[in-house]
């Protein structure tokens, strides 16, 4: 026993390190980190490939591509300017967010503070179901069912509030369908679940003592919501609204069916049946686009991507900062 141990060399001192020790672990972590860094690769690839195809249009059109208001594929050289589309996207996004935010806050308040537990889980499921509706189905419903109803609302609003510039209509005889108002409602339906899911989570994480304290001091539900709940959760709500805005700007098919796309810029008459949306314009023009136009569409896509990625990134930072309980691991 003793001589056999004498012949054995002294065991090598074990290395202490923070990294993975076994080969299997090394591969495990290498694989997962490659997968995680794929997020960067994806964004880089999208930017690079869109840019490769967009470069001819961007270099030939220059800055007016973003601010100009003409798209003429018969002119020589071809003129492609998407100012009205970018403005239209922003307008529809703003209208959609304006409609969706009160609805989403109401739903969250209802789910968290008013309904009994069983009903509130039913309501949560219904909101999730609304989120699961594909946009082509919303577009189908919007075209055949919602547009007629909403254009009736629009005509009512116009007949009572038409003196106000926002609700003024220049050509009332065309009917009221195809306006940014209707597109805004369609977008609102699609972003209500996004804002609701974030607002609901923040509401349910609020300090109940704070709310009960406000109620005990004689506050009503309304004053508690306005002075306690909304100020403490405003960060997350703003983040959720921005996420919704990002989704609204990128919405394609649903808007394509309910909006009258024109390159005549609509500054803010939301009931006027003319508007624009970058994503829908890409879809509308894609079918019979010449190679030069395809390059212009790629450039539009690039601008849309940069715009939405920026908004979504800011929104995600705000939401993550406003949900500190998610960082505890």
């Amino acid at each position: 026993m003793s001589d056999s141990s004498a012949t054995k060399p002294a065991p090598v001192r074990r290395k202490l390190s923070a990294g993975p020790l076994s080969t299997g672990d090394k591969w495990f972590f290498r694989t997962t980190s490659i997968a995680a860094n794929f997020a960067f690769v994806l964004v880089a690839f999208i930017l690079i490939f869109l840019f490769i195809q967009a470069a001819p249009a961007l270099s030939s059109q220059g800055l007016p591509f973003i601010f100009g208001t003409t798209w003429d594929n018969t002119a020589d050289p071809i003129v492609m300017q998407i100012g009205p589309m970018i403005w239209g996207s922003l307008l529809i996004g703003a209208v959609g967010v304006l409609f969706a935010t009160p609805l989403a806050i109401s739903l969250s308040y209802l789910i968290v503070f008013m309904l009994p537990k069983r009903l509130s889980s039913v309501a949560t499921n219904l909101v999730d179901l609304l989120a699961a509706l594909p946009s082509v189905i919303i577009g189908l419903w919007g075209l055949f069912v919602f547009s007629p109803v909403a254009s009736e609302w629009a005509s009512v609003i116009n007949s009572y509030l038409g003196w106000f510039p926002l609700f003024h209509v220049d050509t009332a005889d065309n009917g009221f369908s195809g306006s940014p108002f209707i597109a805004g409602w369609i977008v609102a339906i699609m972003i209500v679940p996004i804002i609701t899911s974030i607002t609901r989570e923040v509401f349910s994480q609020l300090d109940r003592d704070l709310i009960n304290g406000a109620l005990a001091l004689g506050g009503s539900r309304l004053s508690t919501l306005r002075r306690v709940i909304l100020p403490t959760s405003s960060g997350a709500i703003i983040g959720g609204v921005l996420l919704g805005l990002g989704r609204a700007l990128g919405e394609t098919v649903a808007i394509f069916y309910v909006l009258q796309l024109t390159f005549d810029i609509n500054w803010g008459q939301i009931l006027e049946p003319k508007g624009g949306a970058v994503a829908s314009m890409i879809l509308a023009k894609f079918g019979e686009a010449t190679p030069a136009e395809v390059s212009g569409l790629m450039a539009s896509g690039l601008i849309l991507f940069v715009l939405t990625l920026g908004i979504n990134f800011i929104a995600s930072v705000i939401v993550n900062r406003a949900q500190p309980w998610r960082k505890n691991q």
């Binding site: 490939f49 419903w141 009503s220």
Partner: protein
Amino acid sequence: MSFAPRPAVQPWARVNKSRRMQVILASVIPAVIAISAIFLGLDRSVTLVAIFLPLQVLAASYVGFTAFGKRGVGDAVLIVFISFFAAFVLVLLSSVLFSLVTQGAKALSWTFVSQNNIYVSNTTSLDYGGVGHAIVGTVLIVGLTTIVTVPLGIAMAIYLTQSQSKIKNLIRTLTQAISGLPSVVAGLFIFSMTITFSWQKSGVMGSMALLPLMLPTVARVAEEALRLVPVDLRYAALALGAPNYRAFFQVILPAAKSGLITAILLGVARIIGETAPILLTVPINNGTSWNIFSGNIMTLPAYIYGYLSSLFSTSQNRAWGGALVLMILVAILFTTTRILTRPKSIKSKPTKQKARK
């Protein structure tokens, strides 16, 4: 300093019967007035907003005031408005589902689900032709995307929950930002690749275009699922000498199984109805094709899109029928996830579940 006399109103006292009557009257009277106004010929939406809502607010405020004084008014106003808004969203959702079912049922039949679209024109009767080829294409394209995306998304989720790296938060934020990627941009991205490398449009291109849309959903939900597994389980496995990968495959993966399946199903539900990327990258087909690597292939969203803009009523019926089939697929996925995520307290941290509600 002396104590104030005990107030006559006791806020903690139970609501008595006459008050319950008041509440019932306050909810019924405005509705009755509004309905009679509609019968008298007033416009429905005008009545709802200009007559019913103010009356309801007034009535509820009156009841609130008699019951609780000034603070009752605030309660009443808030409750009325919140119920109104929530009911509005509920009406919109039911309107979508109702019109889908009633309109789609006209087209739906076994023929419609099993046959393809060859020799079908805008005026062909609904007894012939259907979405069989589109179902095949959708399942193949979405299936390929799922096979590629799921390992990637779950690996991402593992990295986000287990690694100690500093860029973890950046990756999480970026993933969340990609989840808002406009679907048309995903399509343009792959279309641009096909031009740059002069590839042919095909089903595979559609699968690639759907990948960036599915990945963030899978990664995020899988991360939530992995996070619900108590970290002590992993530490115990590591302390017993298991390497990290075996701790994952033998301890964490079984514990998080239902959550990960939910992640997959939610990812599929997210992309199954995506239209714009498919339209930009997959050539349409009227016949059935099982080959996604070359040639034309049809998908459900493209089918709906194709028939939607037609003015013929049978074509519109076909669009609704296709939408109903798509919605049934989504509903199956959705219900399965709900069944899987039904709260099971054993698997999750008790404190966390309490906080999460």
